[in-house]
């Protein structure tokens, strides 16, 4: 695995909140999922990696370059694609015009080549049928796709996607996952999410972040294994568990130290995640 980016003991504070508190991990080719509850520091971390924000302390390296050095920062930006959490669009711009605008920001000055590239990314996210429509007239899911298309301009080697599936309905989310997994072939993709299904479906590598610290880095199956032997089902709530919730079948799933003769079950990725994070956070289990 070739390393695309490394983060080492990064700290960042906003007022009284310590958003990042010594985060350390590595990103290589393929899709890496950054999993964590709201307020974990995911967006801050992504903004630092996308060279939009700077850390208070710690070292960051993208493609072996240091984003705090101006000349190297531009080199990183030339190979980077960024999808922010709340993508914004100029008023009155059509899909084509917006992506063309971002293409100019990516230094594509030749109009003919630029337009061909814009058409290519629009085709890649399957938006050709609306390329003439105003972006603000489209649904949230489609707008995200427009922003994703813009991030794909120039075939960047490193894609940073901030909660790309948030607010999408299940069908849109499936389509997005397909797009992202295709985009991940041959390049490094870092996406943040609080949906464990996204990670299970997409990622070769997972990083769990909470309260500004990295709690885990490894494969999805390693994350599931964290909960090995610590997940059991019962017909009623058992007090000794750390976390309990009702399943679809009307039984109760428990996480924690199982009592004797408990009905142990295979752990899922979500179980591992919840056990590490120690609480449900904003998103309750299904």
């Amino acid at each position: 695995m070739t390393t695309a980016a490394t983060v080492s003991e990064v700290r960042r504070r906003f007022g009284r909140t310590q958003a990042l508190d010594g985060a350390t991990f590595e990103i290589g080719t393929g899709v890496t999922g950054l999993l964590g509850p709201n307020g974990a520091g995911k967006t801050t971390l992504l903004r630092i990696l996308a060279t939009v924000a700077a850390p208070d302390s710690g070292a960051v390296s993208v493609f072996g370059r240091d984003p705090s050095v101006a000349g190297q920062r531009v080199e990183i930006r030339r190979r980077l694609g960024y999808l922010p959490q709340d993508p914004g669009f100029q008023r009155g711009f059509s899909v084509f015009e917006f992506i063309d605008y971002v293409a100019i920001l990516k230094e594509m000055t030749d109009r003919h080549q630029r337009h061909a590239e814009v058409r290519r990314v629009i085709e890649a996210v399957d938006l050709t049928s609306v390329s003439g429509k105003r972006v603000r007239a489209l649904s949230g899911g489609m707008r995200r796709r427009v922003a994703l298309a813009a991030s794909l301009l120039g075939e960047p080697q490193f894609l940073v996607l901030d909660e790309p599936t948030a607010g999408l309905d299940p069908e849109q989310r499936l389509r997005f996952r397909e797009l992202v997994s295709r985009a991940g072939e041959g390049r490094a993709v870092l996406l943040s999410t609080h949906q464990t299904e996204d990670v299970a479906a997409l990622c070769q590598d997972v990083v769990v972040l909470d309260k500004g610290r990295v709690l885990f880095q490894g494969t999805p199956s390693d994350l599931s294994a964290v909960a090995a032997g610590r997940v059991w089902l019962a017909d009623e709530r058992v007090g000794s568990a750390e976390l309990v919730w009702r399943t679809g079948e009307g039984r109760f799933r428990h996480l924690g130290t199982p009592p004797n003769r408990a009905e142990l079950v295979e752990p899922t990725l979500e179980d591992g995640y919840l056990l590490l994070v120690g609480r449900f956070g904003e998103e309750a289990a299904a």
Partner: protein, 272 residues
């Protein structure tokens, strides 16, 4: 339709061999029959079809050029730079009209009451500052984050946009000043304006541009307006030589600070 044109007929029509009423019949038929249309279509060389479609695509996709873009290219800006600059909200008709309204109010005030010129001298310098605040930054430009993450030099974008909006709003203010009835004294707003603009750009290193501009404008205008409301002799202050000198010194100092920024050199280098 119970019959369709044969291959033979289609070919002789397409080559121009078929004439007269027979050709007219084929043409009339083709207008109403999709199947025969595709038969005729097949007679055209694919390269010719692709070539024309490619040209159609280019024209159809070419983003519509706005009026302010055209003006910018007239002044020698490259097409792509003009696109990036013309998107600035304060270069749009709505902003410019609002700023013009502020100036118009100041002009009216100066014509309708004695001492009204002071109001103009307070408001005129901050109009270009507000325009700069509306050209780039966190709450002003919806694509702010993506702009920062892009290789295009942010400083160049800020400078190009600021220059354009200062020129546009400056022209408005200059025109307005022609209607203010006190002759040469009216030029007294120019140096303070220059000072405020350069201070804004320096302050924008630490605060986002809209905030910097709003802050600088407020710090300058509010105390003066309050003093004016309390019937203090603000005019004397604004027209005094010492204020003009202070403005000049501040402006020169800030510009010196800005030009020593290494980022500036890369920003001013023309795009490849």
């Amino acid at each position: 339709m119970s019959w369709h044109v044969s291959g033979q007929l289609v070919t002789s029509y397409a080559t121009g061999e078929l004439q007269g009423a027979r050709a007219a019949s084929v043409e009339a038929h083709v207008m109403t029959c999709a199947i025969c249309r595709s038969a005729v279509n097949a007679e055209v060389a694919p390269e010719r079809m692709h070539g024309i479609w490619s040209a159609v695509e280019d024209q159809v996709d070419a983003p519509r050029r706005r009026w302010n873009e055209r003006v910018l290219t007239l002044f020698g800006m490259s097409e792509s730079d003009a696109r990036l600059v013309s998107v600035a909200p304060s270069l749009h008709a709505s902003w410019l009209l609002s700023l013009a309204a502020v100036l118009a109010f100041a002009v009216w005030a100066s014509n309708s009451r004695s001492g009204g010129t002071t109001l103009f001298l307070i408001l005129a310098p901050i109009v270009p500052v507000l325009a700069v605040g509306g050209s780039y930054g966190r709450w002003i430009d919806p694509t702010f984050e993506v702009s920062v993450a892009s290789p295009y030099p942010t400083m160049r974008l800020v400078l190009l946009r600021s220059t354009a909006v200062v020129a546009a709003s400056g022209v408005l203010a200059l025109v307005a000043s022609l209607f203010v009835p006190s002759g040469g004294d009216v030029a007294a707003w120019l140096l303070p304006c220059l000072a405020l603009l350069s201070i804004t750009l320096v302050v924008s290193r630490w605060f986002t541009l809209p905030l910097a501009a709003a802050g600088v404008a407020a710090v300058y205008a509010l105390p003066l307006l309050v003093a004016l409301a309390n019937h203090r002799d603000v005019a004397h202050l604004l027209l005094s030589a010492s204020l003009q000198w202070a403005a000049l010194v501040l402006a020169v100092g800030c510009i010196a600070l800005l030009t020593h920024d290494p980022m500036l050199r890369s920003a001013l280098r023309r795009n490849r």
